[in-house]
Amino acid sequence: MTKQVHLAAHFPGVNNTTVWSDPAAGSHIEFDSFRRFAAAAERGKFDFMFLAEGLRLREQNGEIYDLDVVGRPDTFTVLAALAAVTEHLGLAGTINSTFNEPYEVAREFATLDHLSGGRAAWNVVTSWDAFTGENFRRGGFLPQDQRYERARTFLATAMELLDSWHGDEIVADKETGEFLTTPTPGRFAHFDAHFDIAGQFDVPRSPQGRPVVFQAGDSDEGREFAASGADAIFSRHGTKEAGQAFYADVKGRLATYGRAPEDLLILPAATFVIADTDAEAAELAAEVRKQQVSGQTALRKLEEVWNRDLSGYDPDGPLPDVDPLVGEHTVAKGRASVRMNRDPMAVAAAWREQAEAKGLSIRELMIETSARQNFIGSPATVADQIDDLVQSDASDGFILVPHLTPGGLDVFVDTVVPLLQERGVHRTDYTGTTLRDHLGLAPLGGAA
């Protein structure tokens, strides 16, 4: 059977994939950028648009990092405003479980779901750097072994709160004067090692019941967490085979939890460059990567591995002779990528070999080692690739990450979407109203 391709869009943000130096690049803060971006996604009949989160400005060498886009608005506030100017598009945001409490997050998502008529989604993340914690009451510290547990408990507790109203409490009968059918709606009591809360939740059940839940992350724990209760998982894989292996693994875990394969969507993030011909697209893609990795950016990216100040080096020259500093990372702060460089000596050795073999400068190497765009080609080529990956079970669709704000999605919507529609693998209009409808997830109904 032919699968439908699920499409979503990631608003370009604080990351060097976002090209702010292009004359076509607009504001990342002004509402008009969000409005235009959302309008393009809705024109393309996308399932949802997505906002990332970062709660402290990144720093490098003890200074605020100034080479990428800096600054972003508040996620809930933008999504609520977008609900006013869109009709069908799902509204998804990353919200950290570390620097919030379950009651406030449950309340925000229930509100967003009400105000959007059932279009809210939550990408649950957890971060534990004391660096970000310096902006919050709670700080950021928790022993390693308790972090994952708290995140899981946080989500479960938020869901308990969301389920505390069943959906049939409000009758508002003007004649009889009965507003509620029960004197104690929303009652909850939760006690465990992390949360000790009790009382009555104050937001009645929302159209979707709960926000759609996304989970990012590729670890075994992350996969299991997603299989146990998430509605969609982000992942990013370099090859079709790697994507298929991930897909089979994650979908294979669902039965344990009494869930069917269609209950969890696999939606990798994907970058793209589209031009009239494949050759033009390839040329443009190379150009974009140069824009993304300037000489200064290349040095900073190298510092993420070297963990040293490399500002004295020439980005057009060879790699540094000195080795990376091993140990606690002190140079780059507030970045997810730093935490992934678990073995800097091995990375450095591999890069030196690669640079020497090909005679690459620091900048050339950084361009070469950074991920190339996932889809490069003419509209027909990109449509082929996407359809093939979905039909061969490497994914259920993609979250597209344009490199330009706010117009970067337009070329995809205007040229690739019609081709996917012609093939019958992408909707020509929305058939439902909620995000669960768009994702093909069964409605939750009232809570038990």
């Binding site: 400005l57 100034d66 609520a80 006013a84 919030n100 406030e104 509100t111 105000l115 009451r137």
Partner: protein, 397 residues
């Protein structure tokens, strides 16, 4: 020449009377929908009001200040006020939007960026009304415990000390939020292609606040909003909250019983302002009034009686209650204005009825008397209130 007055409307549920939801024009099954709030704020904007406030809290509404009341005959359940304001913002163009934030239970970092973002999505019309939290709410959040003061007389020294601590924390909260709004100087985003720099980091500032309840490093993740400093408002009934208004707010809501009381309350706020070194700054003070309005007084009175009967008790409020005609209300507004208040914040007893009486009755009457604007004269809330866009505390002069 008489001074023009400022008019605000406080929106909450189906209105401020507990039986308001049973009125013929009430929409009690739509209180959780965007359309309901858009309609109300749009009506207020048509009436050229300065701003609307939106009530909020982290607990179900209750007739008992200290605990849930388990009543089934009144409106219960609500939405986050900042999001409601954001949802309404793109569909309105000139009215101020002032949601309530419970400072005791929230992160100043989160609220700072939320209100800054509300200012961006509304084009400079955002404010925030700060409110302290309760012990019931604390049990919902789990971050802390608050003393249960219900057994104590409000004048008891222990109760006063508890109140003092909550309001000192509120002042810290406002201080952090204000610093974060200034933590990006205007023009910090430079997009200098030649040097590859997106921002001028010399124009980004750590706020380095360290207080009893929280420490915040900064800078904000959100640039300085259009108004520079969105408006900070607080409702105050007694000395300690009056001090918060004097120290920290741009706008105070007070609950005088009459014009003489208004003058006395205003005196306390002005003294607190002077003590905080803010004597030269404009702090607008609006008198709160619950209003039941009809074309003639007898109708208004009969309507209130009917509502009271349905609620099973005569209506009481922390604010003075006005029952009568828009013209009679205009007299009272004029009187309070003469007593020194900048205007009034009206709490419609029922929605939309009493709101419409304000926009189509009171407003034209005040306009006839030359006391109210005939068009929104500014695009920002600060502009409507005649407040300048403040200089940034971190900018070099």
């Amino acid at each position: 020449m008489t001074t023009p007055v400022h008019l605000a409307v406080a929106l909450d549920g189906a209105g401020w009377h507990p039986a308001a939801w049973r009125e013929p024009d009430a929409r009690p099954t739509e209180l959780l929908t965007a359309g309901y709030w858009v309609d109300l704020v749009t009506e207020a904007e048509r009436g050229l009001l300065d701003l609307v406030t939106l009530e909020d809290g982290f607990a179900l509404q209750s007739s008992d200040r200290w605990a849930p009341d388990e009543r089934t005959d009144q409106v219960r359940g609500r939405l986050d006020a900042v999001q409601v304001a954001a949802r309404v913002a793109p569909l309105t163009s000139s009215i101020g939007l002032v949601p309530t934030a419970v400072v005791t239970h929230t992160e100043p970092f989160h609220l700072s960026k939320a209100i800054a973002t509300l200012d961006f999505v509304s084009g400079g019309r955002a404010g925030v009304r700060v409110k302290v939290g309760s012990a019931v709410e604390a049990a919902h959040l789990g971050r802390r415990q608050l003393p249960d003061l219900r057994e104590l007389d409000p004048g008891d020294p222990v109760a006063q000390a508890g109140l003092r601590e909550l309001f000192d924390e509120a002042a810290d909260w406002v201080e952090v939020v204000r610093r974060l709004w200034d933590s990006w100087e205007d023009g910090a985003e430079i997009r200098d292609v030649a040097t590859g720099r997106f921002v001028d980091r010399d124009k980004l500032h750590y706020v380095d606040f360290a207080g009893r309840h929280f420490s915040v490093r900064g800078p904000s993740i959100t640039p300085r909003p259009p108004q520079g400093q969105p408006l900070v408002a607080a409702l105050a009934h007694q000395a300690i909250p009056f001090e918060l208004v004097g120290r920290s707010a741009d706008l105070g809501f007070v609950t005088p019983t009459d014009a003489a009381d208004a003058t006395a309350v205003l005196g306390e706020i002005r003294a607190a302002q002077a003590a905080a070194g803010r004597a030269e700054e404009t702090v607008h003070v609006l008198g709160d009034l619950v209003v039941f309005l009809d074309a003639d007084e007898a109708t208004a009175r009969a309507r209130k009686d009917r509502l009271d009967e349905r609620a099973g008790a005569a209506f009481t409020s922390d604010a003075a209650v006005f029952v009568g005609t828009p013209s009679g209300l205009a007299d009272l507004v004029e009187e309070w204005s003469a007593a020194g208040l900048s205007g009034v914040r009206l709490r419609p007893a029922t929605l939309p009825h009493d709101l419409r009486q304000v926009t189509t009755g009171l407003v034209p009457e005040l306009q006839r008397r030359g006391l109210f604007r005939t068009a929104h004269e500014a695009a920002t809330l600060r502009g409507l209130l005649g407040l300048p866009r403040p200089a940034n505390r971190y900018a070099a002069v």
